[in-house]
Amino acid sequence: MSAGQIADVPMTDKPLGITRRLPKRGLQKLAAYLQAAPLALILGFFFLLPILAIVVVSFWDYDFAGIYPDFLTMNYTETLGSWVTWKIYLNTFKFTAIVWALTLLIGFWVAYFLAFHVRTATMQMLLFLVCTVPFLTSNIIRMISWIPVLGRNGLINTTLMNMGLVRDPVEWLLYSDFAVVLAMVHLYTLFMVTPIFNTLMRIDRSLVEAARDAGATGWQILWNVIIPLAKPGIAIGTIFVVTLVMADFSTVQVMSGGQSASVALMMKNQMSLLQYPAAAANAVVLLIIVLMMVAAILRVVDIRKEL
């Protein structure tokens, strides 16, 4: 309750109102803290503390037997001073850019179709569920499922050869950058569809009608009315896709057959060699990059308003 509202209370009620409300509001505040405490504790212990630990460990020393408290910048200079690292970062950015563009393109049209062309609410919900259900199944299984489709003797190659279009199986379908991008688009487009669909559903239909009455063509409505209003959804989808691709190592590893690399995959390999401080240094660099990207996107959109 705002100060203005309290001031509006008639004079005679004022003393009563104050004595009754003040302790209650204090109690409510206390309740809010107690209700928020479990979330704060869990995130504090399993999220903040581990991040701090990574920052600390990134300055430690290590050898094949263990890691030792120290204050070295070696882990950073070693990783940032190497061409390999830069190439891997470039490769990760490349995947991010391509996958972002494709998921945005596909995700927007899918969401647009659902929001503006499906007429009954039941059908809308049903088709939306069809799009989101795979999100709740295993990523690894969905990745593996491309193997019988793309492989040397897979569905696509067999079809192409039977049709006489190619004589030898196309080799770059599986275990290539193409396969990585395809699998990522397959896995992550849902993260675009959902937030964009959400914002499109909240667009006031009378705006579209008004634009049409004013003589706008379909494309003009789309470009000047719908897309600007869909920006918050696009921004949230972008946050999901960008952070997921920047963090990906399993898709890159499985779908490229070990021929391509990403920052997270480099970290994972260092971790399996027990080079935790080196992995931690990479983690800090990756973390800074990802958080900067997210902060840049958040300047466009206020998440709290979009929920």
Partner: protein, 273 residues
């Protein structure tokens, strides 16, 4: 608008949507079909006879790791994550209905937990446990790692739910003399129950399928996704597909059960009004 003739644009977009659905489900159905491969069959089409050989193979312990035990661990872990996610998200959602000091910081902490690369959290929790002499295990460190992924989803959903929740219902209940607990138990809770089931579904499914966050935190015993990941590099028979089919069917069952529950709750409410 409802009686307008379907435009050309509609048919193009409908075709595109259909392709997208095929793209989503096509490869999955390939695995489904190939898991019924005959005993002599390989990892690709054509089917070399039809059999349940690979499913049978799956349940023999020596053939592929320890499928049964890792499934049990993932299932229990999923239930644990689900319970905590529902409860903690609900409480946080209630807290966020009013302004309190640190509220914005906590909200952005939850958002950060969603965007920070999972492998970093995995590494961080692994390091914390190692340095403090705790033994990482699927029910402690991996459990916490999963919560950093499911809780932000739960909190965002509850945030959205309470954004749309009119305080008028609670005021009416209070005016009729209900206590705070009665108001919550008999007015608020039934109204948000479908959303809570949704949060529970997210909590369970995201944990059940989580892989990157479990990598450094599971300790000695593998969860199911880790087991499957291990198989992708060293199993070259359709038993891999059989496992994929079994877990996917399981996931779909859970999703359908949750949806059924939500729909029946909505129906009951509609009747009550």
């Amino acid at each position: 608008m409802n009686h307008e003739k379907r435009t050309f644009e509609f048919y193009v977009l409908a075709g595109f949507f259909l392709l997208f659905v095929l793209f989503l489900y096509g490869p999955l159905s390939a695995i489904l079909i190939l898991s019924f491969q005959g005993p002599e069959g390989g990892l690709t089409f054509p089917l070399n006879g039809v059999s349940l050989h690979w499913f049978h193979n799956l349940f023999q312990q020596q053939a592929v790791g320890d499928f049964g035990a890792s499934f049990k661990r993932s299932f229990v872990l999923g239930l644990m994550v689900m319970a905590v996610t529902v409860l903690v998200s609900l409480l946080a959602g209630l807290a966020f209905r009013q302004r309190f000091r640190g509220g914005t910081a906590l909200f952005y902490l939850a958002v950060a937990s969603l965007v920070v690369p999972s492998i970093i959290i995995s590494l961080g929790i692994g390091v914390v446990f190692q340095q403090s002499g705790l033994k990482p295990a699927w029910y402690s460190s991996a459990f916490g790692a999963h919560l950093t992924w499911t809780l932000p989803f739960g909190v965002l959903i509850m945030f959205a739910v309470f954004n749309r929740f009119s305080p008028a219902y609670e005021e009416a209940a209070r005016d009729l003399g209900a206590s705070a607990w009665q108001t919550f138990r008999h007015v608020v809770l039934p109204m948000i129950a479908p959303s809570l089931i949704g949060v529970g579904l997210f909590g369970f499914s995201l944990s059940y399928d989580e892989f990157a966050r479990t990598l450094m935190t599971s300790g000695t015993y593998n969860t199911l996704p880790l087991e499957i990941y291990g198989m992708t590099t060293n199993v070259t028979t359709p038993v891999l597909y059989a496992l994929g089919t079994v877990t996917t069917v399981f996931s779909f069952t859970i999703i359908l059960a949750a949806l059924g529950l939500i729909i029946s709750l909505r129906r009951k409410q509609a009747k009550g009004v």
